[in-house]
């Protein structure tokens, strides 16, 4: 637990250190270089090909969710979510429509709320008000966000049954339905369900930073 916590802090630190350049002090550069090599595996969000550590959440719906216990699923989709982020709220009206056909095809969807600024009650209310057809898990202490090294909402990870990432990125290229031109998450799922390799494994998106315990 402590280690995870530290990794998140180190990541933040690293992001700052990483750009120190031309300090006119070679010793510092060497130090930064070493720092980079030592920590390179921990720095960025987990990416396609990486295996995700198992986790368990005892949720507000009185159910226990353990990643490794999801069996016989064609794929597992983890979406980091927020009850507040306006960029996420843009998806509220259509997220059920987006995921429904894939749930019917045997894909598992879990929403994860890792924002320490959003209370369990708030997340529960928001979940009920939006009638999501997939579970929303409250990630106390942002532990799951740390496992994925997730940074923003919305942020999607698609995993196979062995907890290996097949896709990491956005849901669609705009939170406003009328502006959407690419359906990146479902495109990846279509390929996975067809037994094909995902063409576009990583995409980027604007979004809100995940609020961990330290103020950011």
């Amino acid at each position: 637990m402590l280690i995870k916590f530290k990794i998140s802090k180190i990541k933040q630190l690293f992001y700052n250190f990483e750009y120190i350049k031309d300090m006119k002090n070679k010793t510092i550069n060497i130090f930064v270089g070493l720092f980079l090599v030592l920590l390179s595996s921990q720095i960025f969000a987990k990416e396609p090909g990486d295996k995700i550590d198992d986790f368990t959440i005892v949720n507000f719906d009185n159910k226990t969710y353990t990643l490794s216990e999801v069996k016989d699923s064609k794929a597992i989709v983890i979406i980091f979510w927020s009850a507040e982020c306006p960029f996420v709220q843009g998806f509220n009206d259509r997220i059920n429509d987006i995921v429904k056909p894939y749930i019917e095809k045997g894909v598992t969807f879990w929403g994860i709320n890792s924002n320490q600024t959003e209370t369990v009650n708030q997340v529960m209310e928001h979940y009920k008000n939006n009638n999501y057809i997939f579970p929303m898990l409250k990630d106390e202490g942002s532990k799951v966000a740390d496992i994925f090294e997730a940074t923003r909402t919305p942020e999607v990870f698609i995993l196979d049954n062995g907890r290996t990432i097949l896709y990491h990125g956005r849901l669609e290229d705009n939170s406003r339905k009328e502006k959407v031109t690419t359906h990146d998450m479902t495109d990846a799922l279509d390929e996975i369900l067809a037994g094909k390799e995902v063409t576009s494994k990583t995409t980027k998106s604007f979004g809100c930073t995940i609020k961990r315990n330290e103020k950011n």
Binding site: Y19, K24, D173, F206, T209
Partner: protein, 156 residues
């Protein structure tokens, strides 16, 4: 130049990488800050006044500040300009108008994933000094700028 932005906010669209290059080229020889924000982003809105104040306090020392909004371009009149007016911004700012979000994000920084607020400080040589993901206080940025100004003097 003219009194164009005495009463109205000038917000310039960034459509291609060369538009971003132009900002950086115009700032050559100065320390400059690039802040990526949006009116929908609460922490961005919270840190915004601190950055404006920072610019007021450090403009004389040659520090430049470039706000780049990542709001939808269609929000320009409805959200971006009213917000800037409310913040008494009387200098030129920018907004993302790239066709593809990925292209904009990667052109700003390959390592940036698109989450905001994101702030970069560049040194006088135009080299990226530090990048900060998440909001920071006026005092935090002041401290960073002071350190950079001291090291720039020591180096020159």
């Amino acid at each position: 130049m003219s009194g164009l932005y005495l009463n109205a906010q000038t917000v310039i669209p960034l459509k291609t990488g060369s538009d971003i290059d132009k900002i950086k080229n115009d700032a050559a020889g100065n320390i400059y800050i690039i802040n990526l924000w949006a009116t929908w982003c609460k922490p961005c809105v919270e840190e915004f006044p601190g950055l404006v104040q920072l610019y007021r306090d450090y403009e004389q020392k040659g520090v430049k500040l470039f706000f780049i909004s990542v709001d939808e371009p269609s929000e320009l009149e409805k959200s971006i300009i009213p917000f800037l007016k409310n913040q008494n911004v009387d200098f030129v700012t920018y907004f993302n108008s790239f066709d593809k979000m990925d292209d904009f994000i990667n052109y700003i920084d390959m390592k940036w994933d698109g989450s905001i607020p994101m702030t970069y400080i560049y040194d006088k040589s135009g080299i990226l000094y530090k990048g900060f993901l998440g909001s920071r206080s006026y005092e935090f940025f002041k401290n960073e700028l002071d350190n950079l100004l001291i090291s720039s003097k020591a180096g020159n």
